[in-house]
């Protein structure tokens, strides 16, 4: 009951946010430099032709009229049509989203599994050798540009060492893809019992996931370390030590009390990394939502850009809601509210 009410309230609060995102995205793509009409019509088109296309697309209307029409169609589940592919945007999103989700969830999941213990270990001996090393490695994850890291990974592991397969998409060209069920090649291959496809999909995932995990783990390490150090400096830990609790028990208390803030942080990371996925996807020719969205932005494909941003916004709302519900269940503060 409490959870239901909490969820409803959060969704109500999120509605204006999403509306704001819609408005800003809609206006931003239209006041940019790109003129999709010129791109669509091609270099041979004359003035009359351009005007005709413009009218056809409704781009001659005042911006607010266009926005009202967009909202009206959106309310009916119509996200518009991509000018690039001439496909409904909704279909494109449904086709591309699982691909990105697979990559992102794997990387953020691995980033958390690696990042949290590393951050804790570093916090228990600040400035020790482990802390120093983890700090340097996470600094790399923070500061090395994504595209450069991707290109270097390809150069070293594919070109020099030949350990990784060619960075050309999600599956080797010699392998027959399993029938699409979830959109995740790993899950679909297992479902179809297609082990060759599974092996190829995992091999293709190796490099992008490694790069992405490093990027995802770095802030998790830093945050976990900071949270744990704060808890370690608290008087209740000091009391536990004065009272004679073993270092193991003290570590357990720290871990338990760090869960909620670290979980919240990973949630915020998940949403921002979904956007960051576009660069990784671009470099590894991944063809996911990020790749598609980045292309749409470069080509001035208005409806596609709007659909892309809307998907990210809704996903964020969803992730934050799930995280808040988890924290609500974990925290004594929440249960009595």
């Amino acid at each position: 009951m409490l959870i239901l009410r909490f969820t409803l309230r959060r969704l109500l609060v999120a509605a204006p946010t999403v509306l704001g995102v819609l408005f800003i995205t809609f206006m931003l793509v239209r006041i940019g430099h790109q003129d999709p009409v010129a791109m669509l019509a091609g270099p041979m088109a004359d003035r009359a032709m351009l005007e005709m296309i413009r009218t056809q697309l409704g781009l001659d209307q005042p911006l607010f009229t266009q926005f009202a029409g967009y909202l009206w169609r959106l309310a009916q589940g119509d996200l518009g049509r991509s000018w690039q592919s001439n496909q409904p945007v909704l279909h494109e999103i449904i086709a591309h989203f699982p691909t990105t989700l697979e990559l992102t969830l794997l990387s953020v999941g691995l980033g958390a599994i690696i990042g949290v213990p590393v951050g804790l270990r570093a916090a228990f001996r600040p400035n020790g050798w482990f802390d120093q090393i983890s700090r340097v490695v996470s600094l790399l994850g923070f500061s090395v540009p994504t595209y450069w890291m991707g290109l270097m990974a390809i150069f070293i592991f594919f070109f020099l060492l030949r350990l990784a397969p060619a960075p050309m998409g999600r599956l080797s060209l010699e392998v027959i893809a399993p029938p699409t069920i979830t959109g995740s090649l790993v899950i679909d291959s297992i479902a179809a019992g297609n082990w060759e496809a599974l092996r190829s999909a995992l091999a293709q995932l190796m490099l992008p996931v490694s790069c992405f995990t490093l990027i995802a783990a770095a802030p998790v390490v830093k945050q976990t370390r900071a949270v744990a150090i704060e808890i370690l400096g608290s008087d209740y830990i000091r009391y536990a030590r004065a009272c004679g609790f073993s270092p193991r028990t003290v570590r357990r208390i720290v871990l338990r009390n760090a869960v909620a803030p670290v979980l919240t942080f990973i949630g915020t990371q998940l949403t921002s990394l979904l956007a960051a996925a576009s660069l990784i996807e671009f470099i590894f020719a991944w063809g996911g939502l990020g790749h598609w969205g980045l292309n749409a932005i470069l080509l001035g494909d208005f409806a596609a850009v709007q659909g892309y941003v809307l998907t990210l916004a809704l996903f964020s709302v969803f992730v934050f809601l799930v995280i808040d519900l988890l924290v609500l269940l974990l925290e004594p503060r929440g249960q009595r509210r």
Binding site: R238, Y239, G244, R336
Partner: protein
Amino acid sequence: MTGQAPILAVRDLVKRFPAAKGAQVHAVNGVSFEIAAGETIGLVGESGSGKSTIGLLVTRLIAVTAGSILFGGRDITTLPEAEMRALRAEIQIVFQDPWGALNPRMTIGRALDEPLMLHTDLDAQTRRKRMLEIADRVRLPRASLERFPHELSGGQLQRVCIARAIATRPKLIVLDEPTSSLDLSVRAGILQLLEELRKETGAAMLFISHDLETVELVSDRVLVLYLGSVVEQGPTEALFASPAHPYTQTLLSANLPPDPEAKLARHRALGEIPSPINLPPGCAFASRCPLVLPACREGMPASHELGQGHRAACLRIADGSNRLVD
């Protein structure tokens, strides 16, 4: 002082912390004192005087640089952690900030249960009984045992911390500014409770505070700390009635009486409290003392006995010129 052997004897305690560029912070500089069983010692001083550091050293939350701390005759500075753990039931600590001293994710009952679980072999039922007794004793509503810290008031939380500290029947309780973060009205109740508990349990108390009135109220004897050194110590009454060290005189004169009509004899120390990094030799107060002599900067002045264990470390006491006058 009572005639019994001291429960705690601190000898020449020194604690230095490393600071930037190889410098050292001299937090505690050769402090010695004793606490008899059932006695309350007040430790007063400004921020940075090292009083809280002494609390942490006595509970062995941090290691000493030099000196010894004898608890019940055993030097706890060299005791292996395993043996120390058994002693920890007998030395308990209460912190200044009760909101931070309790695990926010643990019920009050659990917080009281933990030291009992760790230090006694009692079964859950007996522990529960003891918990209820203690809760009643510190006048904590029994219902609050099921609550989480954020559901209680500051005064109640400090009662929880005190309850937790007496649960294992300690011989020494270190109270690090236990009332400083509480409202004045709540403060009196806590002080009264501490006084009652001392009479009942016979636990000695090391009461650390910068609040002179509180210290005067609860302590049998008072130690005045300045920059890590004890400049004066003695029975509370004697020390407050006739402070001998210029620093103590300054400190006491800064304390405003509640009577707005009272005429204030205010003595001011010169300048600011110096940095405790790389202290010069001599009296710690020399740089601010209005009565400073050249000899004060040369070596630590010896302690002068003023009767009844009232001692002050000031060169001027020898010829009686140690009084500050307006």
